[in-house]
């Protein structure tokens, strides 16, 4: 091994920020695994699921919504690639496109959540408790993602730095994770309609 080798080539290994997000996503995924596990655990303790007095969840709208959200992984991935190539404008435009769709998703999801609350409350029984906790945890992760994207757009407005390139990569990674988790949570919640 020679002593001074500062690579002139473009970086090949993932930066620390990416690894940090990977570790964070690992722990958040465990969190959701525990929530989904609890859902299954409670379900198989009970004969009637959902219990009498609570209608089974609607199927079509949540699936469409989750797929629309999942589709925002594409602009986020493209934004990340653009940032690595130093294209600040392009990265901004893609992240903005994603943010618009994500915000619409979030608005409808929160509206659905509120209208569910009119029909039954989390205090009703264990089904309602885990239903709202699971969805609430997922929506909270989407909300954090919206804040991250908004912050990112603010920063990208004044151009790219090495720090911001890593930020785009890490935030895109976060969104991929949230999108996958949303699909899983949706599937879990809809299993009650089977």
């Amino acid at each position: 091994m020679s002593d001074i080798v500062v690579p002139a080539r473009p970086r090949s290994a993932s930066p620390s920020g990416w690894w940090g997000m990977a570790a964070f996503v690992a722990t958040e995924a465990t969190l959701f695994a525990v929530l989904v596990g609890t859902y299954a655990y409670l379900r198989f303790q009970t004969v009637q699921w959902p219990p009498d007095g609570i209608a089974a969840p609607k199927v079509t709208l949540p699936i469409v919504l989750a797929l629309v959200l999942a589709a925002t992984s594409v602009p986020m991935a493209l934004a990340s690639a653009a940032a690595r190539r130093g294209l600040a404008r392009r990265a901004s435009a893609l992240a903005f496109a994603a943010l618009v769709v994500q915000s619409v998703y979030f608005g409808i999801a929160v509206h659905q959540f509120a209208s569910d609350l009119d029909r039954f409350t989390p205090q009703q029984d264990a089904y309602a408790s885990i239903y709202y906790t699971l969805l609430g945890a997922d929506h909270a992760h989407v909300a954090v993602g919206l804040l991250l994207n908004a912050w990112l757009l603010l920063r990208l407005a004044t151009g790219l730095t090495r720090y911001r390139v890593v930020a785009v990569q890490a935030i895109a990674f976060y969104w991929h994770a949230v999108n996958v988790l949303t699909l899983l949570v949706t599937a879990c919640v809809l299993s009650a309609a089977l």
Binding site: P7, A33, V34, T38, Y127, S129
Partner: protein, 631 residues
């Protein structure tokens, strides 16, 4: 090739200027230096260790004699609960990860700081605040009182109406945030910040142990956090997770708790393994035997730890097939543990051991680890487990492990790295006396508990009658407890005295093998003037590489003094990958921690709207933090 003309000491002077932090208290509040943060962790955890120790002595005083009423039954419940919570969450784990991990990992891997220095500061301030949060409850007479594992239904609002359990649950959620941040930081630091040349197979075993611990934390804390969130949703907002009447299940609490709780045991013991594998080669004067096997065994212990949780629940009436599965899985832990015991003992016997204080503590560690491990195997035998559940036999087992096996290496490590941190030598004779006092004290305190447990004395019992036949054992245990405390006081006095009056130690008083001994004692802010060259797992024993470092400093190679610079390497092979500009001191971590603290206080007092406002403030502070880019 950089061409440099300045002489070596000019370069060192420039590094000093670049890496210097603000002096005084303000410097400590805004510091991002892993060594300062490590020391902050050390002093905070020592304070909590003292509190937990006083609680232990009060418990032992209450139990010294039959029919005793030194404290009231309610206080006794608070004492054993707070003792457990303090020692596990506020003393031992943060001392291992926060103090030893923080201080030593970057030094051992030849890095200038952690991967995320500001996040590191945030971990500490959140940890300190969570500890103060729990202890605020203690001082207001609202100490946690439902046992450290806080079983429902006892912990539900109906049976524990006070805020005691809320202090526990919210305090531990709070504490968990800090631990997750620390674990992420350590994983990334170990992956990315190793000195070029330190491929994974050349990484010190201590770092393998910390890596395994950090991964365990990442996967073990979410079940606990979710469990505590469920508990608080049920207590504060009337949700139903744990009550059968509304479709919940009290066993859900136990499953989730032990899904965290058993990996937690290995989280406690793994850094102890790491310290042992640092001290043994130095004082046995040879490399660790079976180095790759020991590294794999450390990782394997952490992994198997996730498949054994239900052996804490053999007495609750699980299906037989589940019980048998978990019994078999628990037996498997024996394999990696035994590999390590043989590797440690063989390294000592096949070397030329010098039994100085640090190695003596490791000897004590091995004795207690084997004894506690042997009683541990008995819990994998289902009938024995069911008969001894909730007796003092269990208390004896886990104190041999958590005190004998986890804390002894911490004490040995304090002596071993004392010269590195302070630049002074400790007093060897007093240190050995301290070892023997704590060793005898530990054995006298915890060994009779096995017997008295088998005689039927139950855990958490407030008092007992002389007719039970437990009195003599209990008196011996209490006397042992005070001997143990005397040993700890002697150790503390030795360290304080040596800090003030100890002889200068120089860079490397014990001829240690790992990189922390390459740099001066105490290490400068930038750790290494030259990023060291590494070609084996014991780089300080590679004289040619160290001579090359000196030549490199003269030539200005691998010095990286153009700014606040550190190097990043590739994850597996440790090839030089990038030169990073590191963040400097920042006020934002402590501001974020303050906002989060207020948030938790407001949740505790059910001011949810105001709590949301402080969550927003924390988010704003985070935005401000990331506005300052290290360029």
């Amino acid at each position: 090739m950089t061409t440099v003309t300045a002489p070596a000491d000019e370069r060192v002077g420039r590094l000093e200027l670049i890496w210097e932090e603000r002096p005084g208290v303000l410097g400590w509040l805004t510091t991002v230096d892993h060594k300062r943060i490590g020391l902050l962790y050390l002093f905070a955890t020592l304070a909590f260790f003292l509190a937990g120790g006083v609680e232990a002595l009060l418990i032992r005083t209450q139990l010294a004699q039959p029919d005793s009423h030194v404290v009231s039954p309610g206080t006794f419940n608070e004492l054993f609960t707070t003792h457990g919570v303090t020692m596990i969450f506020l003393a031992v784990i943060p001392m291992q990860i926060g103090a030893f991990g923080n201080y030593l990992v970057p030094l051992m891997i030849g890095a200038r700081d952690m991967a995320f220095p500001r996040l590191n500061a945030l971990s500490f301030w959140l940890f300190l605040a969570s500890g103060c949060f729990i202890y605020a409850g203690v001082f207001m007479g609202l100490a946690p009182n439902a046992g450290w594992f806080d079983y429902v239904p006892l912990a539900l609002r109906e049976y524990s109406p006070g805020l005691n359990v809320d202090f526990y649950a919210l305090g531990l959620i709070f504490n968990g945030v800090s631990s997750i941040a620390a674990a992420i930081n350590l994983v990334v630091t170990i992956f990315k910040n190793r000195a070029p040349g330190m491929s994974l197979n050349r990484m010190p075993l201590f770092c393998f142990a910390i890596l395994a611990t950090s991964f365990s934390l990442l996967f073990a804390l979410p079940p606990l956090t979710i469990d505590l969130v469920f508990l608080e949703l049920q207590r504060l907002a009337g949700f139903h997770f744990f009550d059968v009447a509304h479709g919940g299940d009290p066993l859900l609490w136990q499953h989730l708790f032990w899904l965290f709780g058993h990996p937690e045991v290995y989280i406690i013991i793994l850094p102890a393994f790491g310290i042992a594998t640092s001290i043994i080669p130095t004082f046995a004067r040879r490399k660790m035997i079976a180095f790759p096997l020991v590294a794999l065994a450390e990782l394997l212990v952490a992994f198997i730890g996730f498949g054994v949780w239900a052996h804490h629940m053999f007495a609750v009436g699980l299906p037989t097939i589940a019980v048998v599965f978990f019994a078999a899985a628990s037996m498997m832990v024996v394999v990696p543990s035994t590999i390590q015991v043989f590797a440690w003992t063989l390294t000592v016997t096949m070397g030329r051991p010098q039994f100085k204080a640090p190695l003596l503590f490791i000897g004590g560690f091995i004795v207690f680890f084997v004894l506690g491990g042997l009683s541990g195997i008995t819990f994998a035998a289902i009938p024995i487990d069911q008969a001894t559940t909730d007796t003092y036999y269990v208390v004896a087992h886990f104190h041999f492990i958590i005190f004998g096996a986890a804390v002894f290496p911490l004490l040995g490590g304090m002596f071993y790295w004392f010269p590195k941190v302070t630049g002074r030598l400790y007093h060897e004779g007093l240190a050995q006396a301290g070892f023997w006092l704590t060793f005898v004290g530990t054995a006298a305190t915890f060994f009779p508990m096995h017997v008295v447990g088998l005689l039927g004395m139950t855990r958490r019992i407030y008092t007992y009658s002389d007719d039970d036949g437990w009195s003599a054992y209990n008196l011996v245990e209490t006397i042992g407890g005070y001997v143990l405390a005397a040993g700890l006081v002697l150790i503390a006095l030795n360290l304080v005295w040596s800090r003030l009056r100890g002889a200068p130690s120089g860079r490397d008083p014990f001829s240690g093998g790992t990189l922390e001994w390459v740099t001066p004692s105490p290490p400068p802010h930038y750790n290494f003037a030259v990023i060291p060259r590494v070609s084996s797992p014991y780089p300080n024993w590679d004289a040619e590489d160290r001579a090359q470092d000196v030549r490199n400093l003269d030539r200005g190679a691998r010095v990286f003094d153009d700014g606040h610079e550190a190097v990043a390497s590739t994850v597996k092979d440790g090839y030089l990958d990038d030169v990073l500009e590191m963040p400097s001191e920042s006020p934002w971590p402590i501001v974020v921690a303050a906002c989060v603290t207020v948030l938790f206080v407001l949740v505790l007092t059910s001011h949810f709207l105001a709590a949301t406002a402080f969550a927003g403030l924390a988010a704003l502070a985070l935005a401000a933090w990331h506005w300052q880019e290290p360029e």
